[in-house]
Symmetry: C2
Subunit: 271 residues, 2 copies
C-alpha cells in the first residue's frame, strides 16, 4: 500500500465518508415511504430499481466529480465512467433492494475504491440503523448505536461451530445450491435474508461465513475491503480473487476458509 | 374493551413500557458481546438459550411483581405463574434467539397482555435499533430512529402484489412447507430470516403477509395485538384464533387473508 501516501489515503477515506453521507440522505428520504415503486429490470426475474437507488448513485457521482474528478467510477445504476488516476470507485447505492422495499434494515450502501490489485478501502453503510462499517489501509471500525467500535473477525471456529449466512435460499444454479447445502449441512447455524449486512456482521466478529453466487463487482468489493481489514478472507469458490464478482466465500479466518473451500468444489458436487 | 377503564388501560400500557425498558437494558448488555454462549434446549434441535434471555425475563417478572402482582404471567423461560385478576402477561424475552446470537438486529422482545378473549395490548421491541412497535386499545404506533409514527397495515394488495415473510425455509413438516410454497409461488416476493420483526413490518404497512408454524403463544400474542390495532388480521391456517400458538397467518387486509387462506388448506395440499 506504500503507493498511497497518508495524504492520499486521507483523501480517499474522507471522500468515502462524503459519499456515504450523500447516499444516506437520499435513501432515507425514500425508505419506508408510501407508494415506493419498483420496476423490473428484466421481465424474467424480479429485480426492483427504485428512485432511491438512482438518486443515491447520482448524489455519490456528483460528490466524486467535485472531489476526485480523475478517478474512474463503476456504479450499479449508471455503469462505468473512465478515469486517469488508476483508481476506481465501485458503488452500489442500495445493495439489497428487495430488503429495501420490504422495510427491513439490512440493505446497505456499498462504496469501494481500488486499483488494478483490487479494492483498497470500503464502506458498508446501513442508514436506517445509523451504522457504518469501514475497512482498509490497515484499519477497520464501525460507528453505530453503541458508539465507535473496532471491527475484528473472530478466529478459532471450525465449520461445525460456524454461523453461515447467505442472501436467500433460491439463489444460484442447482449445482451451486448443492454446493451451498454441502457447507450448510455441516455448519452450526444457517441464516438467510441479511443482504450485505451479513458481511458487516462477519467483519464485526459475530458470524463466521457468508457464501453467495451471482454477484457483481459492486456487490462484493466493499465487503472484501472491510472484511480483509478486519482479519477475514474473501475469495471465489476456488480460492482466487473475488472482486470481479460471481461466486464468493467470506470466512472469518484462513483456517475456516481452508476447511470450507473443498466443500464448494462444483466438479465434486456434480459428480 | 369497555371492561377496562381508561385508568386500567393506562396502567397496562405503562407497565408494558416498563417491561420493555427493563428487557432492553438486559438484552443490550449481552447483544454482540464476545463469548456469548448458547446452550441447546433439546439435543435434537438447535435452540439457543442465553443469559440475556433469562435475565430479560427475570427483569420483566420483577417489574410485574412490583406493579401488577395480581396478574398471571406466561413466559418463555420461566413458565406460568397464576394470577387472580383475569389478565395474563405473555412474555418472550428474546424472540429470534438465532438472530440474536448472529448479531442481526431483527430479534425482539415480545410483551402481550390479555384475558380469556386473547391479547388486548402488545409490544414488539427491537432494542439495538431502538424501535418499539405497540398496539391495542384502538391505537398502534412506533417510536424509532425517525421519531414517532402511527402504524397502519396497507390495503388493496392482492397475493400477486404481496410481500411475504417467514422465519426460515426449513421450518415445519413437509405438508406445511408445501402449503407455504403454495402461497410463496403466487406472491410477488418472499423473504426469510426477520424473526418477529416481520410482524412489525406488516403492522407498519411495509409488507403484506407473514406465515409461520410451530409457534408458541408467547411468539404470536404481541404480534396479534399490534397487527390488529394497525388494521391487519392474524389467524391460524384455518381462520380460527391464533393466540394459542401453532400455525399462524398474518395478513395486511381481510381481503388478502381471504385470498390466501384456501392455499394453506393442508388436506388440499397433501391430497
Amino acid at each position: 500500500m506504500s503507493r498511497y501516501d497518508s495524504r492520499e489515503r486521507h483523501s480517499l477515506v474522507e471522500t468515502a465518508e462524503a459519499l456515504a453521507d450523500a447516499a444516506r440522505a437520499v435513501t432515507l428520504r425514500y425508505f419506508r415511504t408510501e407508494g415506493l415503486e419498483a420496476e423490473s429490470k428484466t421481465a424474467a426475474e424480479y429485480d426492483p430499481v427504485t428512485a432511491a437507488d438512482r438518486g443515491a448513485e447520482q448524489a455519490m457521482r456528483a460528490e466524486l466529480a467535485r472531489r476526485r474528478p480523475d478517478d474512474a467510477i463503476l456504479g450499479e445504476e449508471f455503469g462505468a465512467r473512465p478515469g486517469t488516476s488508476g483508481l476506481t470507485w465501485v458503488l452500489d447505492p442500495i445493495d439489497g433492494t428487495r430488503g429495501f422495499i420490504s422495510g427491513t434494515p439490512t440493505w446497505g450502501v456499498l462504496i469501494a475504491v481500488g486499483d488494478a490489485t483490487g479494492p483498497l478501502y470500503g464502506v458498508i453503510d446501513q442508514p436506517y440503523i445509523g451504522e457504518r462499517f469501514r475497512g482498509g489501509f490497515g484499519k477497520a471500525w464501525c460507528d453505530g448505536p453503541p458508539g465507535r467500535r473496532p471491527l475484528r473477525a473472530r478466529t478459532g471456529r471450525s465449520l461445525d461451530q460456524a454461523i453461515l449466512f447467505t442472501t436467500f435460499p433460491e439463489i444460484g444454479t442447482e449445482a451451486e445450491r448443492r454446493a451451498f447445502r454441502n457447507v450448510s449441512a455441516r455448519a452450526r447455524l444457517t441464516r438467510y435474508g441479511m443482504d450485505c449486512y451479513a458481511y458487516a456482521l462477519l467483519a464485526a466478529g459475530h458470524i463466521d461465513l457468508v457464501i453467495e453466487c451471482g454477484l457483481n463487482p459492486y456487490d462484493i468489493q466493499a465487503p472484501i475491503a472491510v472484511i480483509r481489514a478486519a482479519g477475514g478472507i474473501v475469495t471465489d469458490w476456488q480460492g482466487g480473487p473475488a472482486h470481479g464478482g460471481g461466486r464468493a466465500i467470506a470466512a472469518a479466518s484462513p483456517e475456516l476458509h481452508a476447511e470450507v473451500l473443498p466443500l464448494l468444489d462444483l466438479s465434486e458436487v456434480s459428480a
